[in-house]
Symmetry: C2
């Protein structure tokens, strides 16, 4: 049989490991260490069998309305999807159809390159400066679209709203997408700029600050025009994507603002403390505004630390890629988890020093 | 601003209406009139908040294993997705990359054309014969892939396993996809042929016979090779699609085989009875093996009946398209719902005759 000659061949993405073992300290995929709001469990208990037999509301109105209230924009300016990956991939497909290249940083979320290739979009990587900051001028030239996360991943570095506004303002011919997956951990969303700039799309996720990675919910805020285009493309090839539990549990999560703020604040406090302690062990860290730290040690290679941590049951993330191959990305877990991480590293580094003496 | 010149413009698909009004008799989108298994509600109540904070198992193992037992194949031969639309669109992208056209019937599920265009795949429509049957010889010529539903939609006509096997056997250079969305209502799946034919992919959905349209779950059965390619492409651009409730509630639905059979049998009985009664009112019907009837009246245009039914709160489906513009697709509801449909039509047709006398 030769049907295989027409099969699309790809390089599969390697996601962070999802170990089954409960004793593992899992600091490798930026999940929230705290459970979602109790309101979410309540909503799960209230799911109706009668409604499960029906197609879900294709506009996910209950979730979209909850988000509209949260974002203080009309519902017509919100688009919800199956995780921010779904929303972002659709946005690439919808907005990036120029002959000019789409621009994004060289060190950033690795799926941007994947989606650009998937949708046949030409792109150019803009090197971050030596301290991993965006060079604004890179984005002030002809392009077919712009996307970057703020704060950036995996560096955690936050760019100012002024920088972003200038990039958006100076690119009236492009759609600018700001991926705010990690904005809730100390940054301030630029979603209010979507009131004034029709070409700005802000994307967020429920997987991090809302503790709902297991639900796959993401959303975009933009001008009515941009959101309308996204919907048109989405409905043209798949009417029903968000299932009923996503709509119901997602809306419940948004409704519990107090819980959300409490969770986020706990993570910010733990991040500060862990950063201080790692710093004391000889790590240099970026000023991460995400729910993760980005750290490299003054003497010990990241690849070695990654392997040592892993064999002791502490999973963090390491990429063997240019510019970041001496860095670890460490999700901020609970205080207890971070204590165990720090304890292990303290002992490992000290044992290593003794051995080398 | 001119960012709009790079926006992808599409013709949005018009899905069957989803009226909010509870008094509507909704026979327009082929949902199941019976709720899902009580096991599904139990699984919803047992969802754990702790697990919702984590990314779902990207292999959806619990669901895939349940399906593997049901289909009597190894788990490596099952692929699960967000509804069969998601699975089918991915299969188009993965398997239909030839210079030769993909073949499918002229009267069939309208999304095939949509996905072909979306993924830039050339295609040719093969006209069904005058009784809406597939002409086998249309599919025995060079092509870049083959897809059709069995039973077909919206006609409900079932082709034999022998016809399908011949098409699969005679096309070793193409992947053949059989879309079995409606197979459980009286047909027999060809999934056992996937043991012998590496180029056959069989796709099914939880939206019809498993009463879970609201969950968005679909799956494919095929050779280990085909399923492997599907997974590679899927993981290359979106690791996590099925959320935790889909995995848990989906597995629960598959586990309750007795309930599934009972539901399906009720629908088959109601379909037979309703077909007989509509026939008595002057309708001619295909021998539908789906959970719907496909009917045209001897004297009254379908468009007129569609509008009359609609204004009385009974929603059915009508397409103003060549060859089927005098047909109604009527989902098989409960006996009570079908009684109300028949009663209304009886009175409408009788009133109309009187008026015209």
């Amino acid at each position: 049989m030769s049907f295989e000659k027409n099969v699309r061949r790809v390089e599969p993405y390697v996601a962070g490991e999802q170990p089954g073992d409960k004793d593992i300290i899992k600091l490798n995929t930026n999940e929230c260490p705290y459970p979602p709001s109790p309101e979410v469990l309540k909503a799960a208990g209230e799911l109706s069998l009668e409604r499960l037999r029906l197609y879900p509301d294709m506009n996910a109105r209950k979730l979209v309305d909850a988000l509209a209230r949260y974002c203080q924009v009309p519902s017509s300016r919100i688009f919800a999807g199956v995780g921010s990956d779904d929303v972002l991939s659709l946005a690439f497909m919808t907005f990036f159809n120029s002959d000019k290249p789409v621009l994004f940083p060289d060190v950033t979320y690795s799926f941007y390159e994947v989606w650009a290739r998937l949708h046949g979009i030409s792109y150019e990587l803009c090197p971050l400066d030596e301290s991993f900051r965006i060079r604004k001028e890179d984005y002030l030239r002809p392009n077919g679209g712009i996307i970057f996360p703020n704060p950036n991943a995996p560096t955690g570095i936050l760019e100012s709203a002024d920088t972003i506004e200038e990039i958006v303002r100076e690119n009236p011919d492009s759609v600018v997408i700001i991926d705010e997956a990690y904005i809730d951990f100390g940054g301030r969303s630029v979603m209010e700029l979507t009131d004034r700039y029709e070409n700005l799309l802000v994307v967020q996720t429920f997987s991090k600050s809302r503790s709902l990675a297991g639900m796959r919910i993401g959303f975009a805020v933009g001008s009515e025009k941009l959101i309308g285009y996204l919907k048109d493309v989405k409905f043209s090839f798949n009417s029903y994507t968000l299932n009923l539990p996503s709509i119901e549990l997602g809306a419940a999560a948004v409704s519990d603002d107090a819980y959300f703020r409490e969770t986020v604040n706990k993570i910010i406090r733990t991040r500060r403390r862990a950063a201080r302690e790692l710093s004391g062990l000889g790590f240099s860290l970026t000023d991460s505004m995400g729910n993760f730290l980005f750290a490299s040690h003054e003497t010990v290679p990241a690849s070695e630390l990654f392997a040592a941590l892993r064999s002791s049951g502490i999973y963090v993330r390491y990429w063997n890629r240019p510019r970041i191959d001496n860095c670890l990305r460490i999700t901020v877990g609970t205080d207890g988890q971070m204590d165990r991480l720090v304890e292990f590293l303290k002992k490992y580094l000290s044992d290593r020093r003794k051995k080398n003496d």
